[in-house]
Amino acid sequence: MPKENLTVANPPAATPEEQFDWLHTMLQIRYFEDECHRMFAQGLVRGSTHLCQGQEGVVVGACRAVGIDDKVLCTYRGHGAVIAKGAPLDRAFAEILGKANGLCAGKGGSMHLTDMAVGAVGSFAIVGGHLPIALGVAFEAQYNERQEVTLCFFGDGSTNIGAFHEALNMASVWKLPVIFICENNLYGEYSPLATTTPIERLAQRADSYGMPGVTIDGNDVEGVWRTVSDYAARARAGAGPVLVEALTYRQKGHSRSDPAKYRPTGELEAWLERDPIRLLETKLEHLGLERGHLDDLRATAEQEVMDALERARGWPDPNPERLEEDVYA
């Protein structure tokens, strides 16, 4: 498929109000995960927890480019995507705390946040496992002739697993409306991309599937929003899937208490300069927004997160009867 055919009507530029709203969500995600980190350190969160700090631009830009009826699938590093899609903060916290009111009744946990009510179809913990599932989600819309798209987030390291290959190929053959969004944060767990992957630009893998592939700046939320809007319009029109590689950076370790010692000196600092929240704040200031206004937003977002957490912590554990429920319908 020749690249020239891909141009679709550009969406209008985002208004400052819209971008302010994005910033709000990005800050919520940031504070939400600060709390996750803290709670994990305090032993209040079980298992593992994978923060997306530094990557908020990708999930917010992408999720805001689609509507409530569109669907999102993401990974264990999915707090951001699920919140960006509209899941309530308190029930997200509650899930991570294993509470009865959690999004998944406490039965899923941090790696499996799901909120069907807002189109957050699932967070998946087996690398690559959800890419084939995204096909079916998109297929249902195609089958029932609804012009919906499915966003499917995954990491750079996931592009080396078999499911990635099968999913992109069949999505292309069936012309399914899936936007595959690779959050290239340079690492798979502790391994730098170059040690596991013999090419640099992952978007190039789209060629193997006859679908468009683009690499974009994942920390530029408006750029992400515009790209995903474009491709979503294209997919709604029946032109099939695309692969978007969003360059970004995982500011924290892979999970739990990983101190991320494997990073070359200066790498984190350079990326902190390009923190997506910071970039957006600067931009909004350039657009005329007052610093005080931005500070207020930070305070608001933080308060919302703290309130949500307080509610969540007050909720009870699941009842023992829940143990054997939800296996069969």
Binding site: G129, G136, E140
Partner: protein, 325 residues
Amino acid sequence: MSTVTFREALIRAMGDALEEDERVFLFGEDVAAAGGSFKLTEGLLERFGPKRVRDTPISEQAIIGTAIGAAVMGLRPLAEIMFADFAAVCFDGIANEIPKYRYMTGGQVSMPLTIRMCNGAGGGFGAQHSQSVENWFLNVPGLKLVVPATPADAYGLLRSAIRDPDPVLFFEHKSLFNTKGELPDAPAPIPLGLAETVRHGEHVTVVATQMMRHHAMRAADELAVAGIEAEVIDPRTLVPLDYATIAASVDRTGRLVVVQECPNSGSWGATLVARLVGERLEHLDAPPALVGAPDTPIPYSGALEELWIPSVERIVEQVKRTVSY
């Protein structure tokens, strides 16, 4: 009522299901244009068109993933994984996603999908195309496992599987495709979880599925000549299992022989025996016996494959031993 083959019964069940419910779609490798590599989906593309009957690349993970996503969104995917042994290449979807999705989301979704696959030995297909794959999934709660032995069961159970709100793995034994049986003109679905007592008898309960049910029936005929009346029960579905019917029979006969086309370790037969002796040891007049395959892969050579599969003779001998215990 008419006489149909197992294959015809399957095709009819799929056709009726596609007819009945717009949400059903059928897909897999070569199921559409070619009508299936075992001709089990012949004519369905022609009847229902390419929207509902679809070919896929050789990508079992993508097939299973598509089934999962579509089921979660409310469709009724009917997927084919040609040889059941290939469940290995998409095992993650089947074992880690399908049976856990509803649970892990606290009941937010259901998973009304059916996966058809050809299992079983006896045709000389070798070690990687002959296994009784249903046993791989026994320790994975959340799946329903269907193992029909006759055309009527194939029809009735497949209809129920497709209608079921939960995920069903539906196993079609390759050696049965050309066997024949009666099918009513307007056949009804057969509920999952209902065993069939195929033969009544008072001396011993023999439990077997698929090919082994037919071997067991032949053994029962031979045993009858020797004055031993075997009750033969075909569970038809392993999950849910009609434990009550089997238990009631064993309570009466006091003796149990399970016949299965697989090694005994980690088998459904071992599971059944463990449960039965745990709950009703006092009803047993003899040790419950498993007639299974040896702990080896399935050999290609006819001379060896025949030894691997439990034979009518081995069943007869074991029943005699059990009855005379």
